[in-house]
Symmetry: C2
């Protein structure tokens, strides 16, 4: 049930053809110390707290390139913005509509997962949102 997040070593950046900059290392460190996904502007303000003054545009660019390289995952929680987290094993999120707390679940069958959530976490599942992304028949050429 626990999700393990990869700690991304700074050298990883070089391996991926990315320069090691203070802003990038700062973003990684913030995401490593995080248990739930953050949006770009929150990451930006955390950077400022660490006395790393960056521009929001920079944070967006960093998150973009990290997403392209697969270092971070990105998704929406019906808030009208994206959240990011270090890429981990496949898992889902349960979001409390009351307090906003976001937790991980690492199973993959909806029914079973729902039952587990109800029994183990006493989380009341009101609904779930599921989309599949891929390539349709006519686009597979």
């Amino acid at each position: 049930m626990t999700v393990s997040y990869n700690k991304v070593q700074p050298e990883e950046l070089h391996k991926l053809g990315l320069k090691q900059t203070p802003a990038r290392l700062g973003v990684l460190k913030i995401l490593e110390n995080q248990t739930s996904p953050l949006d770009a502007l929150t990451i930006h303000s955390y950077l400022r707290e660490k006395n790393l003054k960056t521009d929001p545009a920079t944070v967006y660019r960093i998150l973009d390139v990290f997403y392209q390289k697969g270092i971070v995952s990105r998704f929406e929680l019906e808030e009208g913005k994206f959240r990011y987290e270090l890429t981990a094993e496949d898992h889902h999120h349960i979001v409390c509509e009351s307090c906003g707390k976001i937790e991980d679940v690492s199973d993959c069958e909806v029914d079973k997962v729902e039952k587990q959530i109800k029994m183990r976490k006493r989380f009341l599942v009101k609904r779930h949102s599921l989309q599949f992304y891929g390539v349709c028949a006519s686009c597979q050429g």
Copy 2:
């Protein structure tokens, strides 16, 4: 596998305490004739095509109240905006990353659904996104 959408009768609006206005009826009609979910601004431009000149703000307000009343469902497809459809039986969406086509699936177990999608639709599932919304233990008081 087919999802049935409720045709919303105009009288429904009155039952829900909503006035029957041209803009609202127009939005309903557009959504009824739709097989895949639309975003607010697309709905707005469809209204103009029907010579129903409305303001985007009005469309947003209509969709909001419809959503609150449960007439429409609302979700995100990693586009940075919301899509809306008439509320139907529980189902999921498969999105082609190549052409953007959005289709419905009305099953509910991820693995089975993935297999079905692969076999019946020749849709190549690359990933899926799944979130649960509800109330966590500490908020259930």
